[in-house]
Each structure stands twice: as structure tokens, then as C-alpha cells.
């Protein structure tokens, strides 16, 4: 009896889970990056591979619990003993995971192994408890150097720029929102002013931690205009839940106007 109930329960759970995943009841937002489709395909493949193992495992469990309850049966091991199981694990699962890691490495490589396009537009991102600030090099195309000792929220010197003595820093445009032109390779440099943070844009399929003390470069190209959330996924303190900024993907023209407006406000 208990075995049959257990079997039914397990099957119900398995079907419900399978349905929720297949029907995308909760699912990733649509991707807007060039490398994104590779990652999505990888997730889909993994859903397939893992899902089959999941269903198979749970069904076998349910079936045996259903069939072999009670006593008085002459016990017998499965034909061939453990050998077929071990062979199955090594051959089938082995090839599956090799395939996964091979294809997966390409998706990963497209984000991290390929050098950024030299023509990329560069943006500098500074994370701090609990906000992001973005910096554009301005007309001279050069970023002013950073002086943490000069960082001062009061007079809005979030990056610690020495605008009095550093010519490169004078024309840097500092904003609270990340705007980028669509279909243009972007190279952003992440650095944190205090503790660990993270740069997570679901629609870009990008998640990258800020490592205090290091410059972390990451590059991508957005393929659709729109406004997306940048959220912090690395526990950074009491305001963690509320640490976010917006990414606006604009047409080239809109982007230039936006940048001019921001520059004029400095």
C-alpha cells in the first residue's frame, strides 16, 4: 500500500516538475545579446539531458516501489549484477557530460575567451554599497586615473577623479544609468569601491562579480533596444536587495543625444 502511494506521489511530482519546465511557466526573459543564444541553447540541451535522467530515475524508483512491496518474493538481483549499471554510467552519462562540456565551453568561450573587438565602445563601471556608477571617457577617449582617497559621495566624486590636475579626467562623463548603442560591441571594465558586488543583466545572459582591487573586463553586444535591470547578485550588505541600475540599449542617434545631455549636466 505505502509503496503504491509513494509511487503515485513520486510520479505526480515528476510530471508537475516536467510540465513547469517544458511549458516555461517560469523562464528566462528573452535574450538581447549576441552571445546569449549560445547560452540559451546550452541551457535547453541541459534541460533535455538532465530532464531525461530525472524522469527516468524517478520513474524507476516509483515503478520498483510500486511493484516490489510486501514479502514472500524470492529475492533476485538484476541480470548481470552491477556491471551494466557501471557501464551505463560510464558510457552514456560519460558521453553526455563530455558533449555538454564541449559545447558549453564554446558558449563560455564566446564571452570570456574571445578578445574584445578593438573597436568596442568602452565604459567603466564602479560598484559601491549600494549603487552602480558608469563612466564614459568623453571626447578625448581617455579615462582619467582613479584616486580612491578622493572618492566623496558628498560632492558626487564617485570614482575619485582628480578633475583639477588630471586632463583625462576632466571630460569623463559619470552617469547613474548605463546607456549603450544597439549592435555595437561594448567593453566594460568592472571595479568595486568597497566590497564584492555583481553585474547581472538577465536579458544579456551576463553575470560577473566585481572583485575589489581588480579590474574585471567583460564584453558583449546588445541586439535589441530596450530598458533592462542591472542587479547585484553578490551579497554586499544591508542594501543588497535594493542595489540596481538600468541598462538602456538605444539607437546610435539616441545614444549620442543622451551622452551629450549627460555631459552637459556634469
Amino acid at each position: 500500500m505505502a509503496g503504491k502511494v509513494f509511487a503515485v506521489l513520486v510520479i505526480l511530482i515528476t510530471l508537475a516538475t516536467a510540465y513547469c519546465v517544458m511549458a516555461h511557466v517560469w523562464w528566462m526573459p528573452v535574450d538581447v545579446s549576441v552571445h546569449g543564444p549560445k547560452i540559451d541553447r546550452q541551457i535547453e540541451e541541459t534541460v533535455l539531458v538532465a530532464g531525461l535522467l530525472f524522469i527516468a530515475g524517478q520513474l524507476v524508483l516509483a515503478a520498483f516501489a510500486f511493484l516490489y512491496g510486501g514479502i514472500g518474493r524470492k529475492p533476485r538481483q538484476i541480470p548481470g549484477g552491477a556491471k551494466p549499471l557501471i557501464i551505463f554510467a560510464f558510457v552514456l552519462v560519460g558521453t553526455e557530460i563530455l558533449a555538454l562540456s564541449f559545447i558549453g565551453s564554446k558558449a563560455w568561450g564566446s564571452v570570456y575567451f574571445e578578445a574584445p573587438d578593438p573597436a568596442s565602445m568602452r565604459v567603466d563601471v564602479q560598484a559601491g554599497q549600494f549603487a552602480y556608477y558608469f563612466r564614459y571617457p568623453g571626447p578625448d577617449g581617455k579615462f582619467g586615473s582613479l584616486h580612491p582617497d578622493l572618492i566623496n559621495e558628498g560632492n558626487q566624486n564617485y570614482f575619485g577623479l582628480d578633475t583639477d590636475h588630471d586632463p583625462d579626467a576632466k571630460d569623463d562623463v559619470v552617469t547613474a544609468e548605463l546607456a549603450i548603442p544597439v549592435n555595437k560591441p561594448i567593453l566594460i571594465t568592472l571595479h568595486s569601491k568597497d566590497v564584492g558586488h555583481s553585474f547581472y543583466v538577465r536579458e544579456l545572459r551576463i553575470q560577473q562579480d566585481f572583485v575589489p582591487g581588480l579590474n574585471i573586463p567583460i564584453h558583449f553586444t546588445a541586439t535589441q533596444t530596450g530598458r533592462f535591470e542591472i542587479v547585484c547578485t553578490q551579497l554586499c550588505g544591508l542594501g543588497h536587495y535594493n542595489m540596481k541600475a538600468y541598462l538602456s540599449v538605444l539607437s546610435q542617434a539616441d545614444f549620442e543625444n543622451w551622452l551629450k545631455k549627460q555631459a552637459s549636466m556634469q
Binding site: 526573459p29 558549453g104 563560455w108 547581472y200 535591470e229 536587495y241
Partner: protein
Amino acid sequence: MPATSAHAAVHHGPPQGFIRKYVFSVDHKVIGIQYTTLSVVAAFIGMALSWAFRIHLGWPDAHIPLLGMLSKNGAPGGLMTPEYYLSLVTMHGTIMAFFVLTAAPMAGYGNYMLPIQVGAADMAFPRLNMASFWVTFVGFLLACATFFIPDGPPLSGWTAYAPLSAVGEVAGPGQGWGQNLWGLSIAIFCVASLLGALNFIVTTLDLRTKGMTMSRLPISTWAWFINAWVSLLAFAVLLPTCLLLVLDRLGGTSFFIPGGLVINDQMQPHSGGSPLLFQHLFWFFGHPEVYIIILPAFGIVSHIIPTFIRKPLVGGWKVITWAMVAIGTLSFIVWGHHMFVSGMSPYMAMVFSVPTLFITIPSVIATMVWLFSLYRANIRFDTPMLFSLGFISLFITGGIGGFFLAQPSTDSYLHATTFVVGHFHFTMGLSAIFGAFAGFYYWFPKMFGRMMNEKLGKVHFWLSFPLVYCVFMTMHLTGFAGAVRRYSALVDDFMAPLIPTNRFISVAALLLGATQFIFLFNAIWSRFRGPEAPNNPWGGTTLEWDTTSPPPFDNFGGRQITVYHGPMEYDGEASVMQTAPPAAVAGT
């Protein structure tokens, strides 16, 4: 030093007086029960914390009166502040991971059962054994003490990533003495675990009774033995990590803190440290840790299943044991999969990813051993078996999530989402807990000489099992949607729509918690009112079933125990005790 305590095993007779009998006892059985009790208490504390923050997530403006009493600043009038939410999450993780999941199945049952299962009268170093319990206890008190200091527990998560955990109180409430106590507590716990592991290893190798060859060890003993090696090496690295963290905090060093940090417009007096170093050292311990947590459950379940299906496991002791050895070994070379997006070298990501995926193979083998042992079995669905079956189901589900998190490409989307929370609660959380429950129901009669109430036990299982899926499978799904973990309020445009889902999770979690009180009641009631337990209620064949319930002080009443058989010689109703002389078997 072990050397000084070695003679204890030789000289100590049954202790006299309450203190020596029940408090500072060197008897492994008392120590095992002490450990188990400690983890049950810790488990309910950890669960209460999770209740608090689940309520807060489901109903953000709910007032929790008790919480208001616990902390005036943390929860003024019972309304949880964001920082206190994080403190609760941190302590939930710390207490559950260290003082429940590491303590109960390994130190608790292991202490009680391992010497009996190998036919010894006690651990190799009984005084050392007592020391490791009381050291653990001190560590636990320090962890709990954080609730009662002014700025409350730390909020940097159970992983305590530097520099948030290293720069001191400037980083936020709880990062002052809260984090100091946390660091000390874990360092102390490391010492206790090292001493415990040492004891387990020597006991298994040197104190086996006549005929108890390694190939006749029960699978549970194998699991504890393998696990002892894993803990020995893993905690040996966490200890220095904690010491360096404490040095950074109290000694002003900069191991984990880089230069030029500005917090609240204050320049931090540090330079040249590396947060990544902390993550590497922590996860070098942290990944073996999840196997330290799950391996004893493997052993317990592999020990229980043959008893209730009345036939040996497929492949005998060898297959499952080698699977556990492989898992334990691989667990040391995969820690980087916790750091795919941490800023670690992206090439190392591949180096860590492949062995991570390869852990699947021994895990699948172990799982299939349990599954296909059920083929043509005579399954008896007593509570321990139900929890073992539940364990198998949960472990399969949890393992599946591993496929997504083992690959850097997919992990870069799912990392730090609730998918991860669901995943590790299935694998190391609930699987281990179900294994622990199975062991508790299985060994309770031996430990206390009374049977537990089967009806209540079954109710406990039938409620817990589906609720576990309601809570943590839903977390997997919201993870696919990109719901970020460790958020004290869902204020993003993206997360806000998930509030109803979170409410559902919270309701399920509250019910799941409530269900555990059935277990608590059952345990306490049966301890005093339960029916007398026979020596061998489940028809087991290993040595613990070959003595009285509870066993006498020296476990076997001075009998010479000689082992002639393997641990799982079941054949339907017939079964052979490990100690049955060959003649007797021929007779049957």
C-alpha cells in the same frame, strides 16, 4: 595530544556519578547522543530562523512579535530590517551546515554506531572524543551568542566572503563582534571536526574485532571512514582560512582586503590583499564540505535499504564503496565551480567544470545501486525505509540541478539565483536530513531501548516529502526566471511579480517546519513512553543488532565478538548475522 588519551580506552571502567556518566562522559554512546541532541536543538533553531525570513519574504510588512523580543534593532516591533534578514539567513546557513548537517549524521550517529559496528568497546581515543564534542559545543555557543550582542549576528552569509566579512563593523551591522564570534566559532568547529575525524579513522583501522575485515565493514562504517578522511583534509584548510580572516579583522593584516577600499567615505587602512584568495581557500573546504554532509547519508541509506528489502545491494559493498571513494576524492578538485562568475581566471573555469561533471558518474552509479537493488525485493515500508526512498528521490532531483551549475556557461545565468538555493537544499540539505531521519528512526530503538511510534513517523514522512518539493522545486523554477537569492525584499520590477510564488514557498516552508514538530514529539514521547525495543527490531545483521538495546557500557557485555560474514547477507526472510558461526548457517 592523542598520545595522552590513548590509555583511556584501556583503563576507563563504567563511570560513576551523574557528571561523569552523562555530561563529561568518555563513552562514545553518550557522546553520540550528545552530538545528536545538539544537532536536533540546532536544527530547530535554524528552522525557526528560516521561518522568520520566509514569513518576511512572503509578507514583507508582517510583524513577528518574538523576533521583536529577540532583537530590538534587528526587528523593531517585530518588523524585520533588511540587515536582520541577512543576519538570519547567515546564521541559518551557518547553524544548519556546520552544527546540524556536519554534526548529526557524522559525529552523532557515527560516534554511537561506528565502534559498535566494528565490534570495539569504544572509540580509539575516548577522551579526545569527549573533547571534540565539548569543543563543538563551545563553537555552537559562540555562534548563538551572536544573537545577543548589540549589533547582532553577521550579515555576510555562511560563506562570509571577504572583504565584506573582513573589513569590520564599517561594512554594516553585525560585521563587528558578530563576525568575530562567527570566525572564532567556525575555527573552533574546525578543531573539533579534525579531532573527531582522527578518532574515526584510527577506530576504523585499528579497533576492528576478530574477523571484521575491511570487506566486512557495514557500508555506513565505510561512509563514516571515507568521510573522516575528507573532513580531515578539508577542515585542515578551513582552519587557517578562519584564522587569517580573524587576523585581518583583529590583527589589521590584509590577506583578503585589497588597497583603496572606501566604505562610508572612509578610506580603509588595508592594501594588497585578495578577496579571491579567501574564496579559493573557503571553497577548497566548502565543496568537500557538501560531501562531508551527504556521504554519511549515503552510508546510512545503503545500510538501511538492504535490511528493509531483504537482499544485498547490487554489486555488494564494493560498488557503492568505490563510488563513495571516487566522490570523496573528486570533491577536492572541483571547488572552482562555486566561483565561475567570481572573477576567477576563465580558463580555470573549464578546469573545474569538467571534473565537476565527472562527479556525476560515481553519483549515478550510487543512485542506480540503490534503485536497482529494489528490483524483485521484498520492500517493507517502515519509516526508516520510507525516508530512505525519499532520500533517493531527493538526491536524484538535487543531482539533476548539478548539471546546470557545473557548466560555467549555464551557471553564468543561474549563479546566485534561487535555483542554486533549491539545488543545494535538495542535495546537501534535505537529502542529508532525510538520511539523518532514516538513521534516527532506524537506530532510535538501539540508542534508547524503546521503539518510536510508527504511525507518527509515517505521518511525518508523508507530510514532509511532498512539502520539500513544494518549497525547493519551486525555488529551482523561480531560479530559471532569474530570481536572485539573498534579497530581503523583492522590489525590482523583475522580482516583484514573483511575490505570490514566494508566498506559496513560504506557506509550504512553514508547513514543512511545523511537520518537524511531529518528529520532535514522537522522539521525546517514545524516549520515555515508547514500547520496549527488542535487540533486533528490524532484522538487521550488523553488530549493533547483536547486542542489547541500549548496549551495555562496553557494547557487548564482555563477549568475544567474532565476525564470519559480510554486512548484508539477506535472502528474503532468511538473513545471517555477521557473527553467526559457519556451523549455525549450515544448520539454517
